[in-house]
Symmetry: C2
Subunit: 282 residues, 2 copies
């Protein structure tokens, strides 16, 4: 496939990791970074994640494709502005929520140039130094409301992410946001809340540090995630997240009731039910 000039807006964990892939898979002829955080901009250049940094306006002029990897609240304000300024460039977003964003450009005359994506990959770290080689490979990527995008834009986008090694799944924005609440957003809420629980209850840092096993680290690691990235995700997907959070609290209350009533039989039943996750997560 013909290489393109690609601008990445937000060269952090996601944008930086994608930049590595776009270069390695020979998809980009030139990688332009747009980054409002000057420390991140400098670091991204040092790490050679992108070839050069530009202002957003210059990047739009000099790129064939503009990829947005910024917090989802900034995405909603920036995407319509970018669509106002483009000619025939393809604009792609990689955000974790989709309904509000797609709604924000629904009637835009350039709507067709925009392709909405959500790669199911991330880590609890952030910034360009968190970018990972080989990220996204063998992971799923969700393409939302593809029929609202121009055919050429969708075709190019699919080819690119297939070349990177991702499985493309198509669904509408509402279904995406619902599933994302279940399989990603709630995990982050529980992890943040667990960290606060332990920090509140366990006053001896040294004890946590010395005793924490892999199990604890595994359930709490997402609590290290970037609040500036996650708060807007939770707010944009608040109805779905609230729905699953309410269910989660009521599930925890079942465990609580078992312990209060010393009902070991029901406790075993709850845990055997939870074991069914094995049929999905090996």
């Amino acid at each position: 496939m013909e290489r393109k000039r690609i601008a990445i807006v937000g060269v952090g964990l996601i944008g930086g990791s994608l930049a590595i892939q776009l270069h390695e898979k020979k998809i980009s002829s030139r990688l332009i970074g747009v980054e409002s955080n000057t420390d991140h901009a400098q670091k991204a250049l040092e790490l050679e994640l992108v070839d050069e940094m530009m202002s957003l306006d210059n990047a739009i002029k000099n790129a064939d494709v503009i990829i947005l990897a910024i917090p989802v609240d900034k995405m909603v304000s920036l995407l319509p502005e970018i669509l106002n300024k483009i000619d025939q460039q393809i604009v792609i977003d990689l955000g974790s929520t989709k309904e509000q964003l797609i709604q924000s450009v629904k009637d835009h005359p350039k709507r067709g140039r925009f392709v909405a994506l959500h790669p199911m990959w991330g880590t609890e770290y952030s910034g360009p130094q968190a970018a990972v080689k080989g990220a996204f490979e063998n992971k799923a990527i969700i393409l939302c409301n593809a029929t609202e995008s121009d055919k050429d834009a969708v075709e190019w986008t699919k080819k690119v992410f297939q070349k990177i090694g991702m499985r493309i799944l198509e669904m509408d924005a509402a279904a995406h946001d619902l599933h994302a609440a279940y399989v990603s957003h709630i995990s982050h809420i529980t992890s943040f809340a667990l960290a606060n629980t332990v920090l509140e209850k366990e006053k001896e840092d040294q004890a946590i540090f010395e005793l924490a096993s892999a199990g604890f680290e595994s359930t709490v690691r997402l609590a290290k995630s970037n609040p500036a990235m996650w708060a807007p995700i939770f707010m944009q997907n608040r109805e779905n997240v609230l729905d699953v959070l309410n269910e989660h609290i009521s599930q925890l209350k079942k465990f609580k009731a078992c312990l209060e009533k010393e009902n070991e039989e029901y406790l075993l039943e709850l845990m055997q039910g939870a074991n069914k996750i094995k049929r999905i997560i090996k």
Copy 2:
């Protein structure tokens, strides 16, 4: 150090993993397994985790050291019986709760031969096939109420687990159970409850399977743990677990209130608080 004949009662995840280490580190001259589950007994022999299987009574007669790696409810009923039958053998337990067990043999004439340990290692898998080479290395192990054990028994035990590569921490049983609730037991409860939440809300297994990212897997993996092992742990440590579970539910309710009231400022504050876990878990 002189090699000893060691009996392992319960050759599953923990007992099997320890058996591998006892052999590799040249601590055992002979490894005797005691296993009530006949499938596990056969599998443990096939995997050569132990040299032979014996009844508990024969194992007690033929071993210098008896190590218990069975569910904590079985531990409480079996330990006094074993102490009744031993001469000068050392008896070690590796259970995840300590107060009730230590209480159960407090006034036993052979109390001194018993050493109470809890290695801070495990996985969500169980049975002899789950035994892992190199487990325990560079992990912490808690030695409880060491002053109630005979000096020679404590000294031998410390040497063994140091040779295996573990950091030995000493504390009393009450402190152990409290810390264990914070840094291990609550992680299992939240993970079990999260699995039930997602299985309840997400009726499409295929969607979870296709979309689940590493973050979801990380927070939910402990839900695959063995209920027969974990229910007795939660029951024995129910007061501490209830205490931390109540705190966890109230932390989750803070997230819920933020979403309900669209209070992004407080949401950010909660997440920034949770980020402080970074100072402990790198």
